[in-house]
């Protein structure tokens, strides 16, 4: 920027104008620079035509158009930058109030429906109470109580037709069948695996409803990734509130010598947990702004910390030469580490402007991915060396499969990151790879749910 030491009044005016532009959230730094360049070109021509500097400035600013209209256009084009609905809805939609009321009504009904659904099995003798153990039926079917309702919400919200809605019912029907037809032994490994993997498999169906028919359109799937992350954040927040509510319920009824455990364990927690999924999704949809900045902030915060952790871990291991003690939980622990790193990469990608050139943070991301790969490689080698001792149990095969899937994702991500940093490829490649990989997780989860019980004889 050409700001000379003796700032002329004209430069002062331009600086003011630039400041006004910068305050608009939809218009980012490089855009301001581009617009300022335009302003100056325009002023140069006008000055040549005989106008004085400040006259030229006024005309040029006028021709640029009103800042409100301008930033609205920018908001429309760069909708990811701010609250779409707060900025655009008031003048675009005719009757925002009415549409919002209908949506609120639908969301509340769906949330109540989810809360009621979780209580229906109780009519058939599967009671939720603090005295008995949780019937495994609930663990296996947890996602089936609420995901279909969430799908209905998105089918309605995106205006999909009924035929499409019926197609989306198919995965849930299959899910119901496979969660319930197998004669699991109570508490068996394969039963736990089904409970853990069915939600992952079915989340893809929710995703299809979320993006409507545009699964292959650019950006739609990334929006779903963003939505998922933000839903998790909202859900945790709601759960914290729910915890406080639960605590007070117990405390207050205890004060009048009544035990409220049956209410809390039988109603409050299960109904709340189900309803919160719907409410959380609605909040994410309605108030994207507040949280849109949350996932990236967490990513920025924890990427350096995890990179340091991994590097220190590797250095310590190399220094002391102590091998990884392969215990039962080690493999799962390293799986979770990879999930976390993939999550960091995914949310960094979702928040990044794909057109921006590589910066320091991208280098850090690559370092994180590479060190995670090295750590996981060491762990896998240790496990492979002793796999014959273990024998194949369902848990180990599932954990090993997940490890390989994540390893493939990260290895290719590292390659794409390196290319991007050396200006050989674009960041969009990395983003595309990440979102193209999403169905793989669900496919593997579905495989675990459908095939593992048969393969391992319901162990």
């Amino acid at each position: 920027m050409t700001i000379s030491a003796d700032r002329s009044p004209l430069e002062e005016q331009i600086a003011q104008w630039r400041l006004y532009l910068r305050r608009r959230r939809a218009i980012h730094g490089p855009d301001v620079e581009e617009l300022e360049g335009h302003l100056r070109d325009q002023m140069a021509v006008l000055t040549e035509a005989g106008l004085a500097g400040d006259e030229a400035f006024l005309v040029a600013v006028k021709r640029m158009g009103s800042l409100d209209a301008l930033s609205r256009e920018f908001a429309r084009e760069h909708s990811e930058r701010l609250w779409k609905q707060l900025v655009i809805a008031p003048d675009a939609a005719g009757e925002p109030g009415k549409a919002t009321r209908i949506e609120t009504l639908i969301v509340l009904s769906l949330a109540v429906a989810a809360a009621v659904a979780i209580k229906v099995p109780a009519l058939f003798g599967l009671r939720l109470s603090p005295d008995d153990e949780l019937p495994p039926f609930y663990a296996r079917n947890a996602s089936l109580f609420v995901f279909p309702l969430l799908t209905i919400y998105f089918v309605w919200k995106r205006g999909s037709d009924v035929v499409r809605g019926l197609w989306l019912a198919l995965p849930f029907a299959f899910g119901t069948v496979f969660a319930n037809v197998y004669p699991f032994r109570t508490g068996s490994d394969t039963e736990v695996l089904t409970a853990l993997h069915l939600p992952i498999a079915l989340w893809l169906a929710v995703g299809f409803a979320y993006v409507r028919s545009r699964w292959f359109a650019d950006g739609e799937r990334m929006d779903f990734v963003r939505f998922s992350g933000e839903l998790v954040i909202y859900y945790v927040l709601i759960a914290l509130g729910g915890g406080v509510l639960t605590g007070f319920t117990m405390m207050m009824f205890e004060a009048i010598e009544m035990n409220a455990e049956w209410l809390v364990a039988g109603w409050l927690i299960p109904c709340g947990a189900m309803g919160a999924v719907i409410i959380g999704s609605w909040l994410v949809e309605a108030k994207q702004s507040v949280i849109e900045n949350m996932a990236p902030v967490l990513t920025r915060l924890f990427t350096p910390l995890f990179t340091v952790l991994l590097l220190v871990f590797l250095a310590t291991m190399a220094w002391t030469g102590s091998p990884i003690n392969v215990k039962r939980e080690v493999l799962i622990g390293f799986d979770l580490l990879l999930v976390l790193v993939v999550g960091l990469v995914l949310y960094a990608a979702s928040a990044r402007d794909p057109q921006a050139p590589p910066d320091f943070f991208d280098g850090l991301q690559l370092l994180l991915v590479v060190s995670a790969l090295v750590v996981d490689g060491v762990a896998l080698a240790a496990i492979a060396a002793r796999i014959s001792e273990f024998g194949f149990t369902p848990n180990r095969v599932a954990a090993l499969g997940e490890n390989l899937i994540l390893l493939v994702n990260l290895a290719w991500s590292a390659w794409l990151y390196a290319r991007f940093l050396r200006h050989r490829g674009s960041f969009a490649d990395l983003e595309r790879w990440q979102i193209a990989y999403l169905p793989v997780y669900s496919a593997w989860a579905a495989f675990v749910v459908v095939v593992f019980p048969l393969m391992f004889g319901y162990r």
Binding site: T2, P30, D31, E33, E34, L35, G37, H38, R40, D41, Q42, A44, A60, R63, M64, G65, A69, L70, E73, F74, R76, E77, H78, D218, Q355
Partner: protein, 112 residues
């Protein structure tokens, strides 16, 4: 004569693509060219061009690069991509359909 808002918005994409198909350019020059070529009838609010350019860039119809202007300031130059040329061909056909349809109607109106 001033064109309606909708028509200006609809014609923005083919105009920008057509101008960039002639050679690389930047925002201010594009607007100047549009004004000149239309004999002053097509007046864009200057700022409105940039969201259009950014949208086309996102759809990979054009590509942008920062370069330097004559005065040494940074300036963003745009060039059309292969996809952009394909899109331009499609748009051209569409506009020709509209054009010939309207012509047909008005010719009939004149002879009737």
């Amino acid at each position: 004569m001033e064109l309606g808002k909708d028509l200006v918005a609809a014609s923005a994409t083919p105009l920008v693509l057509a101008i960039l198909a002639e050679g690389d350019s930047y925002g201010y020059a594009i607007i100047k060219q549009v004004t000149e070529l239309s004999g002053g009838h097509l007046q864009w609010t200057d700022g409105m061009l940039y969201p259009v350019l950014h949208r086309l860039e996102r759809h990979r119809l054009i590509a942008a690069k920062w370069g330097a202007s004559e005065s040494g300031r940074r300036r963003k130059y745009y060039r059309i991509t292969k996809e952009g040329r394909a899109q331009l061909a499609v748009q051209r056909q569409q506009w020709q359909v509209v054009d010939s349809t309207l012509r047909g109607i008005w010719m009939k109106a004149r002879t009737a």
